[in-house]
């Protein structure tokens, strides 16, 4: 089977702006990965390895009463959500090849991610002591 010179769904002349954005998203996916790898160790150590810590309301609320931990969890959530959307975007672009449909699916993806992010940040902001 012969391989076409250009993939059918790749635009013949991708705009320079779009190319720059793709590059930034590619780099952002790797940078957020490193941040998450470090953040996850802190996140799990704080919840599962710290004496007196746990997943009951009292234990969770006690840790998140600290502004530092609350800021950390907010930043961690932003990084993870960004990374999840970045990964799902690649999957969507692999399987949804119709340009208009692809656009709507990606828009839906961003809206859903914004809702998850908003719910998480709202939860953090409205905790007792916040």
């Amino acid at each position: 089977m012969s391989v076409p010179a250009t993939l059918p769904d790749a635009p013949a002349h991708p705009s320079r702006l779009r190319g720059a954005l793709q590059g930034l998203l590619w780099l952002g996916q790797r940078l957020s990965a490193l941040l998450i790898a470090v953040g996850l160790v802190l996140h799990l150590a704080a919840i599962h390895l710290t004496p007196g810590a746990g997943v009951s309301f009292r234990e969770v609320a006690a840790r998140l009463a600290s502004p530092g931990w609350r800021a950390f969890e907010a930043a961690f959530l932003v990084a993870v959500t960004f990374h999840a959307v970045g990964g799902l975007r690649i999957i969507v672009e692999d399987y949804v090849t119709t340009p208009l449909l692809r656009r709507y699916v990606l828009l839906l993806l961003v809206i859903l991610a914004a809702e998850v992010l908003a719910l998480g940040l709202y939860t953090l902001a409205s905790l007792p002591g916040a």
Partner: protein, 115 residues
């Protein structure tokens, strides 16, 4: 799309599968924690479900997915930035071994009666 079954393909497919699973977990995690707003009694009643055997089994899967996605993610970064393409196969097996080890440690902790 056409698939070629090789080490790189296995890594790529597992990266996708674990990424999707972790995304679903992220949504579930945020949703569960949003119930902190319901107060101590309601929240503790909800998280008590996490002690059920089924939830523990999901947790074991979560641990495996996290380890694989993390180690294989470092593999991708090494390939992209540090000429790691030469070593991509051994690093994939390292990711797989780390996943198996993490799973065993977790299950051992989960069911101490097994040992």
């Amino acid at each position: 799309m056409r698939y070629r079954v090789k080490t790189g393909f296995a890594a790529w497919l597992l990266m996708r599968a674990t990424g999707l699973a972790l995304t679903l977990y992220l949504v579930l995690h945020v949703w569960v924690l949003s119930h902190l707003a319901d107060g101590p009694e309601a929240f503790d009643r909800l998280v008590r479900w996490l002690e059920s055997p089924l939830a523990r089994l999901f947790e074991a899967g979560l641990v495996a997915a996290v380890i694989f996605h993390t180690v294989n993610g470092l593999r991708v970064i090494l390939i992209d930035f540090a000429g790691g393409a030469r070593y991509h196969r051994p690093i994939f097996w390292l990711a797989s071994a780390a996943t198996a080890a993490g799973l065993i440690v977790f299950l051992w902790r989960l069911w101490p009666g097994l040992t």
